[in-house]
Structures are given as C-alpha cells and as structure tokens.
C-alpha cells in the first residue's frame, strides 16, 4: 500500500506539472473562466439594451447566477475533465511514456488514480474561479464545488475508458466530442421543457441548473426578457 501511495503521489505531481506546462491543457482549463467573463458582459449588455433597470437586474440576480453557475459546471466538467483524462492518457500512449511507466513497475490502476485525482482537483479549482467570476454568494460555494466533483465523476469514468481505448491523440479528439456534448446538454435544457426533460436525465442534469421553465411555474417572478424563451 505504501508503494502504491508513493507512486500515485509521484504520478500526480508529474500530471499536475504537465498540466501547467502543457499550453493546450492549460488554455482549456481557462476556457470556462473565459466563458463566464463573456457571459457577464453579454448579460449586462443584453439587460441594458432591453431597458432593464438596475433594480430589476438585481432582483433577477439569483436566476442569472443559477444560469451562469450551472453553465460553468457543465463547461468545466466537459472541457477540463475530458482534456486531462482522455487527452492525457492518449498522449501518454502515443508518446510511449505510459509504456515506460509500466515497465518501471507502475500499474495501470495507479496511473488511473493519479489522472482522476488531478482531473477532479483541476475541475474544483476552475469551478472555484468560475464561481467568483460569476459573483456567486459565498454560501453557495461549498455545494457548488461538491456538485462539481459529484458531476465530474461519471465524465471521468467515461473519459478513462475512452482514453485507455485510444491509440493516439487524434483518436482522443474524435472520442472527446460526444463526451463534451453530453456534458453540455443541461445548458441546452434551458431552452424549453422538452429539452429540459432530456437534460434532466443526462449525466450532469442532476448536478447542474434545473430548467428555468419548470422552476418559474412554481414561482411568481416572471422570466427576465433577455433570457432565451421556450
């Protein structure tokens, strides 16, 4: 057990260093944060052009936050977890570094644990950054991060399987697209009730934003005009 812990720690350190030094991976980790910044500007501009007052905007802040945080959860998990796990393993296979590790008496399970741990940590860090960009309330932070980890687990498992099945990074690119799309389904769930029903049974449907329409039926506040209508 000590040997396994030692190896996993060494591999996780290497994976984390590689994450920072790999420009592609690093940029993908920054993308969800970039999208959050973009959404803030877009929503602000849309509100201004719709003639919404600051008071009305403040009143709808909870709904805006729900949308932004839910979207960032989906994007972070879909992009970051897939990139680190699926591409990471595929790159190791393509460049034969995985073989070199296994010839050094490292087991596949140790590689898997290390990659998954780094992916979950990266998802948490990026989620936290997105949270503060979206200006969520601090009381929401803990459940948000916990939901991020819980929601990332199925994506990590699927990415592990696909990563081990890949022979190279090009194949990884092909396999990653459906994983990313499935992770982003809850965002499209906000477009309408039908889409919301489908989104509710997707891997992240349980962890991310619930449908605006189903919630607004239970509430009296109207939907802000600048948000997509069904």
């Amino acid at each position: 057990m000590n040997a396994t812990i030692r190896k996993v720690r060494a591999l996780a350190g290497k994976d984390f260093a590689d994450l920072i030094k790999n420009p592609t991976m690093f940029v993908v980790c920054l993308m969800p944060i970039g999208f959050m910044v973009l959404y803030r500007f877009v929503i602000g501009d849309a509100a201004t052009s719709a003639g919404v007052t600051m008071g009305e905007l403040a009143a709808a802040s909870e709904e805006i936050a729900t949308f932004m945080l839910g979207s960032s959860l989906c994007m972070t998990i879909g992009m970051v977890a897939t990139m680190i796990v699926l591409y990471g393993i595929a790159e190791e296979k393509e460049k034969h570094t995985l073989r070199t590790l296994m010839l050094a008496n490292v087991r596949a399970s140790e590689v898997v644990i290390s990659k998954s741990s780094v992916a979950l940590l990266a998802v948490t860090v990026v989620n936290a950054a997105c949270f503060f960009v979206a200006e969520g309330q601090l009381s929401w932070l803990a459940p948000y991060l916990a939901l991020g980890i819980v929601g990332a687990l199925p994506v990590v498992f699927v990415s592990l399987v696909l990563g081990l099945a890949c022979r190279d990074q090009m194949t990884a690119g092909f396999y990653s697209v459906p994983v990313l799309l499935v992770a982003l389904v809850p965002i499209f769930g906000m477009l309408g009730e039908g889409a919301a029903r489908i989104a509710s049974i997707s891997p992240l449907g349980g962890a991310s934003t619930s449908s605006w329409d189903s919630r607004s039926r239970a509430r009296s506040s109207p939907k802000p005009p600048w948000l997509p209508s069904s």
């Binding site: 073989r99 596949a108 891997p203 349980g206």
Partner: protein, 43 residues
C-alpha cells in the same frame, strides 16, 4: 445547482436529480471496471 442556490439542496426536490447523477456514476464505474482489464494494455 438551482436547488442549492434556493437552499433546497437537501429536500425532496433534490432527490431525483441526485439519483440521476448517482446512477450515471454507477454506470460509469461499472463500464470502467468491466473494460479496464481489457484496455489497460499499452498499444
């Protein structure tokens, strides 16, 4: 997440979404366990 923002994360309304997520985690774990041995060979 919406339920968490509303402070309704640990209510009945949260059960269904969390069951969906747990089911996906279990399915993913099963798929991984089933295919891992076959796939964990380098090229």
């Amino acid at each position: 997440m919406g339920l968490a923002i509303e402070g309704a994360l640990f209510t009945e309304a949260a059960v269904a979404p969390l069951i969906v997520t747990m089911a996906w985690i279990a399915a993913g774990a099963l798929m991984f366990a089933a295919l891992f041995r076959r796939l964990a060979r380098d090229n």
